[in-house]
Symmetry: C2
Subunit: 337 residues, 2 copies
DNA sequence: CTGAAAGCGCTTACAG
DNA sequence: CTGAAAGCGCTTACAG
């Protein structure tokens, strides 16, 4: 019951090995009779074309490398699941590489990726140096950033409209009559963290009510929690906090409640992402939704387009977010959804 | 800047192509001088051996197929992250396949997996028919079940000690003086769901206090929530509920609170898994911990052992769990950790 | 439509 | 230690 090859199928079917190959190659020409004989023999033998051999000669592995830094933020598992499903429907599969979000880590991983002859690389929650990007590009491997932007725009990237989302959060809090607004920002080493902060702070400044405090929460639960405790223990604590993502916002809500405060009454909290947990009763978090499904679908389309046409110029796509109003922040009159 | 092959490196280094191959093959013999020349040329050209070509001739792809049904239960992302890290350290990578947990789905996926010439298959949260298992085995591809057992033991499987864990939950609740104990069980189509239920119910029966109600929560949030509401709206509601996993237990806690009850006071709730969220203040769930890290490490060891020796008899390994006491259930005297 | 043959980029006996 | 050569399982011009 060892490996069965196209040659064995050919013998059994009484045709040439090339004929077998053609029957399993979409778009190749074979007579109905040949197809039938081959399919029959293949079924009897349990034959499946060897994807690796095919990849060698065609130069297409139908494997997409996915680089991930962490999965503790629920946004990523959700995205990965859909990514895998969508890609599978298109005949591709995901080879996963995890790495600390350091230059060295990403560098090593990119090298490994290339030796696997992947057809493309998706970087999720990972930043990349531009010369590394250049290397992939010059090796003819398309790279798409998911949920992360890049300053010099040499790579395709799919994000939500983070600045606009930041503004939206500010407008909502302002409309709610808050006067002392703070921001526990997303990691400033990431474009998402910087952009959300920029949009948020700009909108507050435009309204003549600059943030009373802006700190980097690093996208980490512990850091966000410490930030929240620090903020609340000052002489003049904030009456509202915009938090760089939901994962940190949950920590902030936990910290506030532990200090005896009621979110949405004593302090308003707004997050970013709208992960499933945000809608669970225990948190019921008001947040800016990142439309994961559309982001993933767009990422896949962009990837496949670049695989088809490696010359194509990289595209930076922003998907509009949406404010999801729940109970963790005071609801201004007329804003109810 | 196209693909660089071993032949190009050989020319530049002034050696044969075989020599280049040997330099990149661990354990092959090459003189120090050759190694040096080749490494230099390779570095200059940016050469990396083509893993696919290597896989073709060696028959080893260094790819492990991972089949997943869903990622919404936080237990799996955590496990996948570590699995990827551990495997990467050993020079392997994960090719992800997602599938609905149906016979058809798994069947199709297994076929795909084989055509990718994976060195092994890890099934997580997925059940498999025994003839499918036979097919993989006879194709020489080791299969290891993660967090799922199998009745006929033809496959290796790594789980926690689910029956013992169920018993532990029962003993804890009994010691807490509860008299009306219910169980919202894990999906009865899975070994984990059945085993936890069996251990739990046996222990209750042994104590002469059988469960007042046992229902299947299907490992789904909505189902668990509905079950909790049903249980609590009867004439004689339970004073304690053991829930088949944390993911459902969170739903139960949400439902109880929505009904105005205080978990740990009005009703005790115990979960299973100890996912990170269980320790967050909003839930603070008493639960049976599944030692993810050890389960993953064991899975990898088992997998690699079977790759090294395909003849090896499959092993079923159970890893001891542990009760983690928090505030969602009444704490019996002397049980504090 | 079909078969014989070359070639994808490697590893690995086989001689030397 | 080293090179020439066969071969892993396919796809794809090339003739017919």
């Amino acid at each position: 019951m060892e490996k069965v090859t196209s040659l064995q199928v050919a013998k059994r079917a009484g045709v040439s090995q090339s004929a077998v190959s053609r029957v399993f190659t979409p778009g190749a020409s074979a007579s109905a009779k040949t197809v039938e004989k081959v399919k029959k023999a293949a079924a009897e033998l349990g034959y499946r074309p060897n994807v690796l051999a095919r990849a060698m000669v065609s130069g297409k592995s139908r494997i997409i490398g996915l680089v991930l830094a962490y999965l503790d933020n629920q946004f990523y598992p959700v995205a990965v699941e859909r990514l895998s499903n969508v890609l599978q429907d298109r005949g591709y599969h995901i080879l996963v590489f995890t790495t600390p979000n350091s230059t060295d880590g990403v560098d090593k991983v990119m090298h490994d990726l290339m030796s696997y002859q992947v057809d493309g690389i998706i970087l999720a929650s990972v930043s990349i140096s531009s010369d590394l990007a250049d290397r992939a590009t010059s090796a003819g491997i398309p790279v798409v950033l998911f949920n992360r932007g890049q300053d010099d725009a040499t790579l395709s990237a799919v994000t939500s409209a983070n600045r606009a989302g930041g503004r939206l959060a500010a407008e909502f809090l302002l409309a709610g009559g808050h006067r002392r607004i703070a921001h526990i920002a997303g990691w400033q080493g990431s474009s998402t963290g910087r952009d959300r902060q920029a949009g948020f702070c700009d909108a507050l400044a435009d309204a003549g009510q600059p943030a009373i405090s802006v700190v980097d929460g690093m996208y980490k639960r512990e850091v966000a929690m410490a930030c929240a405790n620090d903020l609340m223990s000052t002489d003049a604590p904030p009456d509202a906090i915009f938090v760089g993502n939901d994962h940190m916002a949950f920590a902030v809500l936990d910290a506030l409640r532990a200090a005896g405060m009621v979110p949405g009454k004593d302090v308003s909290v707004v997050g970013y992402d709208d992960v499933p947990l945000a809608s669970w009763e225990a948190y019921d978090l008001t947040t800016i939704r990142q439309p994961v499904n559309r982001m993933v679908d767009t990422t896949v389309e962009t990837m496949l387009a670049q695989i088809d046409n490696p010359q194509a110029t990289p595209r930076q796509i922003e998907i509009e977010g949406e404010l999801i109003i729940r109970s963790s922040a005071r609801i201004p009159d007329g804003w109810t959804q």
